[in-house]
Assembly symmetry: C2
Homo-oligomer: 238 residues x 2
DNA sequence: CGCTCTCTTGATAGACTTCAATGTTAGTGG
DNA sequence: CCACTAACATTGAAGTCTATCAAGAGAGCG
């Protein structure tokens, strides 16, 4: 049951240690916690930065046509909208895919802390960097891969991210996305996602039942996806 | 003829003023300048951060299949790979679309300056934020728009960015992209880009000759693209 | 003048979407 | 425990958008 401040500390200090005073300053930030149900908009509390303590959240835009494009998926420990520290909310809406625990921290307090603490500022930069690296990979995925490779790539990415949380390769992956969600994340129709998933099953790369995915042949799935398992996992410069 | 340090200062202080000592620290950073020809890889000088002083640069990835996806386009005054400050190069390659003047600054020196100067750190965060905001818009564009709207959207984005540099709406826009480049940026084939551009011409939204685009009906183009003219231009939180 | 790169055009094929119906599952209340 | 509902998954058929292939036309350049 990690608290908001635990998650914040971990997100900002991963692979890079903060000074003790920076850690205590983070721990001292006042925070609030929020439980939200599945499929709810994460409330845009003015000037608050939100953290995903537990659960899944997606960030998306709705087009004039009414279609939805999911731009990012976030799991336990993620801080989806770090950009709010610097610029006002950017037209992206966040919605829960599962029941969630959400942590809230004052953006102004975080800005103030960034100003005083180089380590925290560095952590924020690293988070912003990872977010844009993932976004670029999505651009490549959606822009240039066939449907089957595209869906495989998304699953590889999510699997690797879940492994990073759990610490090891899993037998099964709980990915609470409907086929419509997968379509909205990959730029495909739900019907086609269904067909592609069946093809992945036929190829014996993947099994799925009740929101759980079983990766049957990890290496072949990675190969099919053209997935680079390192891409989320590069050592920081400093 | 802006220098590397000019561009750096402008990129980091836009809409947010740095303290005099921060400005002088930036001005005092030692920099190098580099002239590169069209269609050349921007050399990945170990540990150097590069700035586009003049010209156009694209960041892209090549898939196993040999296809290319352009993930970002950069013009005068942009700092494409700010991420290098925090993480090592991320598989993205940068290539010039025109003859370019490139500025180089030591990433380690910038990191050191970020550590000492909250204003500089804030400027870096703002740049990282803008980069990921654009990337998200590209995801939406590529994922959910039809070819014609997609190309229109790219042109709107580039037009707005060029306007920001020039300071006003232009009669013509020099966009040195081949139709193949536009295809690689939008996830389309060059042949289809050609047909789409002709359709935009037929609709009398756009004219193009010799690498120059003339936007004939700005409002209708924006409408067709579903473009939000504000999206690059939100006021900073602070 | 020939070379290369880019743009253009037509024909054909294929990937993916849309529409519509049916099956499946889990949850709810009687 | 069963009927009822709603959400999601699955299937088929038809249609559309976009890719691919191939060839020719212009334009710039040595």
């Amino acid at each position: 049951m990690p608290t908001t401040n635990d998650v914040l500390l971990r997100a900002l200090s991963a692979r890079y240690s903060l000074e003790p005073w920076e850690q205590s300053a983070l721990a001292a930030l006042s925070s609030r916690e929020l439980a939200i149900r599945r499929d709810a908009v994460v409330p845009d509390e003015g000037g608050m930065l939100f953290l995903v303590l537990e659960g899944w959240v997606c960030g998306y835009k709705i087009l004039n046509s009414g279609e939805r494009q999911i731009c990012a998926l976030h799991v336990d420990g993620d801080i989806p909208d770090f950009r709010r520290l610097v610029l006002p909310p950017a037209g992206l809406e966040y919605r829960s895919l599962t029941v969630c625990r959400i942590g809230l921290i004052s953006a102004a307090a975080m800005r103030e802390l960034c100003r005083k603490s180089p380590g925290v500022a560095h952590g924020v930069m690293r988070n912003l960097t990872v977010i844009s690296t993932i976004a670029e990979e999505w651009i490549v995925n959606i822009g240039r891969r066939r449907a089957i490779n595209r869906v495989a790539h998304l699953i590889c990415e999510l699997a690797v991210r879940l492994e990073a949380i759990k610490g090891s390769i899993q037998a099964r992956y709980v990915i609470p996305l409907t086929q419509t969600d997968i379509g909205d994340a990959t730029g495909l129709s739900a019907v086609h996602v269904n067909r592609v998933l069946q093809e992945l099953r036929t190829k014996r790369l993947l099994e799925f039942r009740g929101g759980q995915f079983f990766i049957l042949d990890r290496q072949r799935l990675i190969d099919l996806a053209g997935f680079d398992p390192e891409y989320l996992d590069r050592a920081p410069s400093q």
